[in-house]
Symmetry: C2
């Protein structure tokens, strides 16, 4: 795993710089709001979603420099979702990525607003794709659509809603699949498809990238469950309220640890299979798929 992070260290540092520039500075009025937005977006996280944007663009032969705005936008949306997820009325988590949660530092009201603002500013950044990165308006509109659908009520927010609604009972397997595929999978999918669109993907390439997205999301979720089960809390962060409920279904509980690992490996094989027709330019996507798997070891 270190290999991956070391190899892509310069890209990761570039993503930090992009976010640093896209987010309003900490002395922009109202300062507290902008500090809160920056607190939860900068200096943490594996930047998987930004890497997926870049990887998909590169895979289809696009100019990765055009992805900076979308890479920032997906990370801002991810950051907003974590701020809102951690609120007392949601998962009620006091810590995130080893630091106090946003609402612990800034209070609940500012945490709600910082999340709202990150979501909104993500779309403001997308509206700047033509002027800042020379993306065509046609592609920009499609990317806005991908991100809004992926993050919306039939995507990420839908998954979070079902997770919250299921927190007191024991959801069936179908419900859990919905939660997994929507709460995290939908934003992965939007990042990948958005990146592919920026790279000028044709319909067939877009379908391959979408196929990769489905298996990537599943591999991510299974390894997440395995990490939960083997208690690798350091890697994963604190488990959420829903993880902590006694009756929770996980892949290891349903299929056992070994079979779960095997399932995750099969997902990664499918990811690699979806990239078969792509050349060496799909290297980042290939390595990301393997990286997700290695998280469980």
């Amino acid at each position: 795993m270190k290999d991956f992070l070391q190899e892509w260290a310069s890209v990761l540092s570039e993503i930090e710089q992009i976010l640093e520039q896209v987010l309003p500075s900490a002395d922009t009025y109202p300062q507290v709001l902008h500090k809160a937005m920056r607190y939860s977006t900068l200096g943490g996280g594996k930047r998987l979603r930004a890497l997926l944007v870049m990887g998909a663009c590169a895979a289809v032969g696009g100019d990765v420099r055009q992805t900076a705005g979308l890479a920032a936008a997906v990370e801002m949306i991810h950051a907003y979702s974590l701020i809102h997820d951690d609120l007392p009325c949601m998962d009620d988590d006091d810590f995130r990525r080893g630091k106090p949660s946003n609402h612990i530092v800034y209070g609940e009201a500012i945490a709600v607003l910082a999340g709202d603002a990150l979501l909104t500013e993500a779309f403001a950044e997308l509206a700047r794709l033509p002027e800042k990165y020379g993306v065509s308006p046609e592609v920009t509109v499609r990317v806005v659509g991908e991100l809004a659908s992926g993050a919306g009520s039939r995507g990420m927010v839908g998954g979070q809603a079902v997770d919250i609604l299921s927190a007191d009972g024991a959801p069936d397997e179908e419900t859990l699949r919905y939660i997994h595929s929507h709460k995290t999978g939908s934003l992965f999918r939007a990042a990948l498809r958005g990146g592919a669109l920026l790279g000028g993907a044709n319909q067939e390439e877009l379908e391959m990238i979408t196929r990769y997205a489905e298996y990537f999301g599943l591999a991510f979720q299974i390894t997440d469950d395995i990490l939960d089960e083997v208690g690798d809390a350091e890697q994963l962060g604190k488990p959420t309220r829903s993880d902590q409920r006694s009756g929770k279904q996980t892949y290891p509980r349903l299929y056992g640890l070994e079979q779960s690992r095997q399932m995750a490996e099969e997902c990664v094989e499918h990811c690699l299979g979806a990239l078969e027709r792509f050349s060496e330019r799909a290297r980042l996507l290939r390595e990301l798929a393997v990286f997700v798997l290695q998280r469980s070891h």
Copy 2:
């Protein structure tokens, strides 16, 4: 005032129908989330923002049928802001437009998510402007930018943050002006400019509409303050926590009731002045400005 609402009743009923269609149906999974989104968006409100979109488009000679998506989007963003404003950690209001607040009916977690989803789906709807209404991708991207900036951390959310941060003290006049112009003014401005862009406004027309927006926002705020002062609670809804604090500055307290009324009238004159070069097509915008003033009588 009845005259205005009666005269434009068919347009108002059209706006309801548009929202009804744009919002995911109540039986779309997850149903509770979609019911919560619909609860706070449909069947209430004066639809000022949607009317401003339509009025600006008409004023510059555009095809008002192209505004349906943006009209829905601004009303969805307004509805999301009200849901989040009413949360216990924000203004803590149990009632809104004479009904229990969203979080009273659906709980805080779903209320947060319903707001998040309304904001996100507003941008999803904008991404459909080209296919649904034949809007060019160029104009669509500009409209996305207007709405995201108006609703973002240097717009509506910024105003709400400063309002919350000032709630325990006695903010100075400058701070109050910031709150007013951002918490409500920024979305009016985005609605108007977005509508004008959809109508094909040239730079000069856009400047006139922007000038109208500034005075419209100010007139709205002064009459809001007057309504507060004379206790016309039926029209205005329950005052917010910040309204209730003892040291609150309002236009009537700063300038007296009569002078405030005069100031509001002057704002409306400026609104009408900004529309001088427009023909009869600016009728809706002219009547909206007068309508805002009449609210105080």
